[in-house]
Symmetry: C2
Subunit: 241 residues, 2 copies
């Protein structure tokens, strides 16, 4: 059909590499081993090409990292949120969708913290959030405040929650931290002592046993509801004045 020998029919069709394929493979490396394990030589090897060939498809490693952020935020399900008429419900739907994706990609936070990531998919999400907040009654000076509070909470909460997944580096260091909590002076730290070992597991990212998959123990929704309650009340207070 395409001129290749019948013996080669089932082989990969030798199509040229494109930028999207490089980004996908880079994402896989980050997903499997963290941001530090994304390096150009193994990336090229995984794609069956030479390191220098990558630089005709992709300008730099920095570019690649931002492209991965866009790829992951592209997985955030926004169509169900769009159907919700109530703006508060829409924003909660969006937040949950973001949290779901960020929990599935815990290593993304390493990139988020060290790069500016204004990309098509993050812009798309921001527009939905701003629309919802305005419909909730927030306006000019407070609208930006509310957006910053919302995004800080969603990203920050997910980042702290995602940390346990990255338990690979330096076991000795983690053991030292855990011992610090276990040998804490109960007189100086009464509440922490009382809440151990729960607090190590669910707040400090030092689980004593590996998380079972699906078991997040997350209080994301609780805090989100609290924040949005407060935002709505704060706006009402102002419009009443």
């Amino acid at each position: 059909m395409n001129g290749s020998h019948w013996l080669l029919e089932r082989e990969q069709p030798r199509r040229r590499l494109d930028a999207h394929t490089v980004v996908s493979q880079a994402h896989i490396l980050v997903h499997e081993g963290g941001a530090a394990s994304l390096t150009m030589r193994p990336l090229a090897a995984a794609l069956g090409t030479s390191t220098s060939a990558l630089y005709r498809l992709v300008p730099s490693k920095q570019w690649l990292l931002v492209a991965i952020v866009d790829l992951v935020f592209g997985e955030v399900e926004t169509s169900t949120a769009a159907d919700v008429g109530d703006p508060r419900g829409r924003l909660e739907q969006l937040s949950t969708a973001m949290h779901d994706v960020l929990v599935l990609h815990p290593h993304l936070h390493e990139i988020l913290a060290s790069h500016v990531w204004v990309t098509p998919n993050t812009i798309r999400i921001a527009e939905i959030a701003f629309t919802s907040l305005r419909e909730m009654g927030l306006d000019d000076p407070e609208l930006l405040d509310a957006y910053n509070a919302w995004s800080g909470y969603v990203i920050g909460f997910s980042a702290i929650e995602a940390k346990p997944a990255e338990n690979a580096p330096d076991r000795a260091l983690q053991r030292a931290m855990r011992r610090q909590l276990e040998e804490m002076d109960p007189g100086a730290f009464p509440i922490l002592t009382e809440l151990m070992p729960d607090v190590a597991d669910r707040a400090f990212g030092l689980p004593s046993r590996p998380r079972r998959s699906g078991e997040s123990g997350s209080s994301f929704a609780w805090g989100l509801a609290a924040l949005l309650d407060g935002v709505a009340a704060r706006k009402r207070r102002r419009s009443r004045a």
Copy 2:
């Protein structure tokens, strides 16, 4: 006095390097050039020693990064918070002190996102936060939820706010992001278009001009008040039931 020649009197007293000095210098390098600029060879050079000599004082670069986190959190002023009788006021005081420090050390977030950081100073701060939240009426299952919401907000908000400071890497990439916002379709993104250029500057970390020092334009306090309002209301609701 100490046997050294008078010509050497004003020179550094040749005291042996200790771990604390290494951590301090490492912190300076991170502060000045970001986490990526902390490398062992220049660190050794700045301390006037050999790279390999550092490894007798400090176990690894990872250890050094966690030590820097502890050093910075050690700067968080907690004594004024301790004086506040009202638990809500005490938590607000603590949060503000944390925000102040984190804004002064924007590069710390690169470390926070990729490491577990349970250290003496972060434990000290957590104990104060837990005490305040319990005195605000939160208890067993909700206490941890509330702590996670609070810490996610404080760290996450500060992280997003700190990003503009790291504008060093890849000007071309940042220009591409800014162009994306400037050439946005107003039909598809009405609110973002309306809020430009303010939204690029104050929400997305793409300031059109460098920040004047002291000018944070931060809505940290606004969002914190909203969150704590919501947390307090949520607890009241439960105890009434």
